[in-house]
């Protein structure tokens, strides 16, 4: 087994490899995002903000990470 095993996931339509076992909150931080400013959908289901620290990223997960932008 490799020392830093990675898994393959998709974020906003883009493929990424991330370390195995990280939480979604860690994933957001690794992406340079402020977890309190985004909403996360994992495999089409919303991940409540209060659980972002607990939920682990799994191989093959599909994420949508959104925030508020200017609009009419």
């Amino acid at each position: 087994m490799e020392q830093h095993e990675t898994i393959s996931i998709r974020i906003n339509g883009q493929h990424r490899r991330v370390p195995k076992g990280i939480s979604i909150a860690d994933l957001a931080l690794e992406l340079g995002l402020e977890p309190t400013r985004v909403a996360v959908e994992r495999n089409l289901e919303i991940v409540p903000r209060s659980t972002l620290d607990e939920v682990r990223v799994e191989d093959g997960d599909d994420y949508e990470i959104v925030t508020f932008v200017g609009g009419g």
């Binding site: 883009q14 909403a39 919303i46 200017g70 009419g72």
Partner: protein
């Protein structure tokens, strides 16, 4: 809401929240966030509409709307602009609720890209589902009093008919229908879309609307900040004129000076 049903004429209420400004402004199409923030300040708006979009994961450090317009001071009203089905709109608003915790949202479900006219079948379906999930949807809709009644029954907390196509700046094309909707509604009615200049906003308010929502009319003005102030004054003066009650119209002249005592 009909005039005689309104408790007072200072603040207005939507879904139990009280606001002083009757102008809601969008946050799209501005040159930059600084200009957008200055326009919001000049407009006096207490509510801004915002869109929900994917974060830019390739460049996460670029400036964000929340850095310029503070959601703690200005109410963010998440909008479903760009959604063409009830499912897309509901998914967007569920995410919006998670991103900020808001239940007060603006629903719009569009029928086609060319006119951006609302699809009222999908809009009504989305309103029912959202209301059951605890959302308080303010709903963009056609200038259709019957559809508006259905929306109200389904749980819409505000009725928001278009005055003209989104982004067209044509001014209100449907004053008669908007007035009927104002008279019959028990929830606030706000004109959403179609305003081009200050007098258009006044027309909407003189019809008795509770407020006006606009984006392009300010963002695409040559001086957006000055136009924002013009819109603030137009909404206020239109509201005052509505409350004051305009004079009746006559077909011919009626002199303002007395006829008696002419030399």
């Amino acid at each position: 809401m009909a005039l005689d049903e309104r408790p007072d004429d200072g603040d207005w209420q939507v879904a139990g929240r009280s606001f002083t400004s009757r102008l809601i402004v969008g946050t799209g199409k501005y040159k930059d966030f600084a200009q957008n923030a200055a326009a919001v300040a000049a407009s006096g708006a207490e509510i801004v509409t915002v869109a929900v979009r994917r974060v830019n994961i390739s460049d996460p450090k670029q400036p964000m709307l929340m850095d310029f317009i503070d959601p703690a001071k200005i109410t963010y009203l998440p909008n479903t602009a760009g959604c063409f089905t009830a499912e897309e709109a509901i998914r967007t608003l569920r995410l919006a609720r998670e991103a900020g915790g808001w239940t007060l949202v603006k629903l719009e479900v569009l029928g086609e890209a060319r006119t951006l006219y609302p699809d009222m079948v999908e809009t009504l379906r989305a309103t029912e589902i959202l209301a059951k999930e605890g959302f308080e949807p303010m709903v963009y809709c056609a200038d259709d009093p019957i559809a508006a009644k259905r929306l109200e029954e389904a749980g819409a907390v505000a009725i928001m008919p278009l005055g003209a196509p989104i982004g067209s700046g044509l001014g209100l094309q449907n004053e008669v229908m908007i007035r009927i909707m104002v008279e019959q509604s028990k929830v606030p009615v706000l004109v959403d879309a179609g305003v081009g200049t200050a007098s258009d906003a006044s027309v909407a308010m003189e019809l008795g609307c509770d407020g006006v929502l606009m984006n392009t009319a300010i963002a695409e003005a040559k001086d957006p900040v000055m136009m924002a102030r013009a819109m603030k004054l137009a909404v206020e003066s239109g509201r005052l004129a509505y409350r004051a009650g305009r004079m009746g119209k006559r077909r011919y002249a009626d002199p303002s000076s007395p006829l008696a005592g002419l030399i």
